[in-house]
């Protein structure tokens, strides 16, 4: 940050090999109110330049050296915000060999001005003022960048802190919240098993309601945990065989098998790049929804297929369910959004939020095409993988 009395960044570094020249220049600078520092050679010019410089004022003769390239290197190595003004005082008359060389060497890469001798004092002063003005702006940009970086560092640290707090929260949620819940469920069940016979129908009904409610809360807690796991777990995407994933999911849930449901997989499904455990969660949530949201009495029929779209693969899961009105298509992928009220279709409202988050983490998109009463087709868009 800028220190008020530090004029390092305002100083003009002067390199003029002949004594008279530099004495003249120093006088001009002093009268003009500039801070001038005389350098012995190019090495010193560059060394001081590294510490801070408003502008460099160099007599042409000083460039007649093999060390010229260190100035070039210095100018090239500047950070992106920096463009040190370099003013070369040339001999009068025809452009000399040396100033041509300076122009060719630095011209394209440097903030170079040529001032021709004999110069009028006002010419040099106005050139220097312009140079310092632009240099001041550069230092301002540097300070802003530093502030910005500092801010980014602070915010990142704060975010990391929040994330680790959330992790601790979900950890204690899995342990501390579920423990009493498991006890409630367990004791209700034991009570029903061991003392159910000695209770009247009302008593049994109340107990069953406690059980149902605690089961629902347990599912809710587990789904929230699943969501937070899939949102923060580090995943590595590799080639995944969707055929195996779909097959395994269907094998795991009786509700996805005949006679409860008919799931037609158009094999072979194309290979995608993804994270197997996440994909398995996604497919399982989508298939569970596909067979759940169906008119009572109707047998769920689901079709699964893939289509190639350039470098992507689109996975479709189509059902013969109750469908979703188009105004709800976006909403259903959000946390806790449920369209069916109460007990008509049981659910926590987190399943599709998990789908959306997991697919997003695998670098894909998800969506739905559907109309009320005409079934739904959910899709995932993932990177194709031919390996």
């Amino acid at each position: 940050m800028k220190k008020p009395n530090d004029r390092t960044e305002e100083r003009i570094l002067l390199l003029a090999p002949t004594g008279a020249d530099s004495a003249n220049a120093i006088t001009v600078l002093r009268n003009g109110g500039f801070e001038g520092v005389v350098c012995a050679d190019l090495d010193e010019l560059v060394a001081l330049g590294r510490e801070g410089v408003g502008a460099m004022l160099v007599a042409e003769e000083a460039l007649r050296t093999k060390r010229l390239k260190i100035l070039g290197e210095f100018l090239e190595a500047q950070p992106s915000w920096s463009d040190v003004p370099l003013i070369v005082i040339t001999s009068g008359g025809d452009t000399t060999h040396v100033s041509m060389r300076a122009y060719e060497t630095f011209g394209p890469a440097a903030n170079l001005s040529l001032v021709e001798r004999p110069f009028r004092v006002i010419t040099l002063i106005s050139t220097l003022r312009a140079a310092l003005r632009s240099r001041r702006r550069q230092y301002e940009v540097r300070d802003l960048l530093e502030q910005l970086e500092e801010k980014v560092r602070e915010r990142t640290a704060r975010l990391e802190q929040t994330i680790s707090e959330l992790e601790a929260f979900s950890y204690s949620m899995s342990h501390d919240l579920r423990a009493p819940l498991r006890a409630m469920r367990g004791y209700s069940q034991v009570l029903l098993e061991e003392y159910g016979a000695s209770m009247d129908a009302h008593g049994q009904d109340y107990l069953k309601r406690i059980l149902t409610a605690s089961e629902r809360l347990d599912r809710l807690v587990q789904d929230v945990l699943r969501y937070s796991r899939c949102a923060r777990e580090s995943i590595e995407c590799v080639s995944v065989d969707l055929n195996a994933v779909v097959k395994a999911v269907i094998a795991e849930y009786p509700s996805l098998q005949p006679p409860n449901a008919e799931i037609d997989v158009e094999a072979p499904l194309m290979k995608v790049r993804g994270h197997e455990a996440s994909l398995s969660q996604v497919i399982s949530n989508l298939l569970a929804n596909a067979v759940k949201f169906v008119e009572p009495g109707r047998k769920p029929k689901v079709k699964v297929w893939t289509e190639q779209r350039g470098s992507r693969v689109r996975v479709f899961i189509q059902d013969n369910g109750i469908g979703i009105a188009s105004e709800h298509h976006e909403k259903i992928f959000k946390m806790f959004e449920r369209l069916s009220a109460g007990s008509e279709y049981e659910g926590t409202g987190i399943g599709l939020a998990i789908v959306a988050k997991a697919v997003e983490r695998m670098g894909g998109h998800s969506g739905v095409e559907s109309e009320r009463g005409r079934g739904s087709t959910f899709w995932l868009d993932l990177e194709r993988c031919d390996e």
Binding site: Y171, A179, R182, G186, Q189, V190, R229, E233
Partner: protein
């Protein structure tokens, strides 16, 4: 082939202890169930220290069921301690916890757990698990 030693349940939650006792009874596990309420007690029990000095009353367990989140020393601390003792490098340790955290699962196996089970939600599911433990780890598994 039956292992005769007791089952040592390391569990701080009295409800879970109750359900485990009930499940053992339901399934017909003959081995007695001993309980250590935290990590330090488990280590004391295993080393036969203090109140556990009498090895006849407190014989070494044939199977240890280990909760991870315990007051004081955690289940993973107990496991690490055990595997560092020549005496307990091969004792059967089954983690039984609510945690599904990949971190915990990984760490438990790395430290030498024989199995990792997540506590089920209902007494019926717990009975299933206990029946499986009885059949595999107590009736069939052979230890050194």
């Amino acid at each position: 082939m039956n292992q005769r030693g007791p089952i040592l349940l390391v569990e701080d939650n009295p409800d879970d202890v109750f359900f485990m006792r009930r499940a053992c009874k339901t399934v017909g596990v003959e081995n007695p169930l001993h309980v250590a309420e935290d990590g330090n007690q488990a280590i004391e029990y295993l080393s036969g220290a203090g109140r556990y000095a009498d090895r006849v009353a407190h014989p070494l367990p044939c199977v240890m069921l280990l909760d991870l989140k315990l007051p004081g020393k955690s289940g993973l601390d107990v496991l690490a301690w055990m595997r560092a003792q020549a005496e307990f490098t091969t004792h059967v340790v089954i983690v039984l916890t609510t945690s599904r955290e990949p971190r915990d699962i990984h760490e438990a196996y790395r430290l030498g757990a024989n199995a990792y089970l997540v506590k089920p939600s209902t007494p019926a599911q717990l009975a299933e698990i206990v029946a499986a433990i009885k059949m595999f780890w107590i009736d069939h598994n052979i230890v050194e």
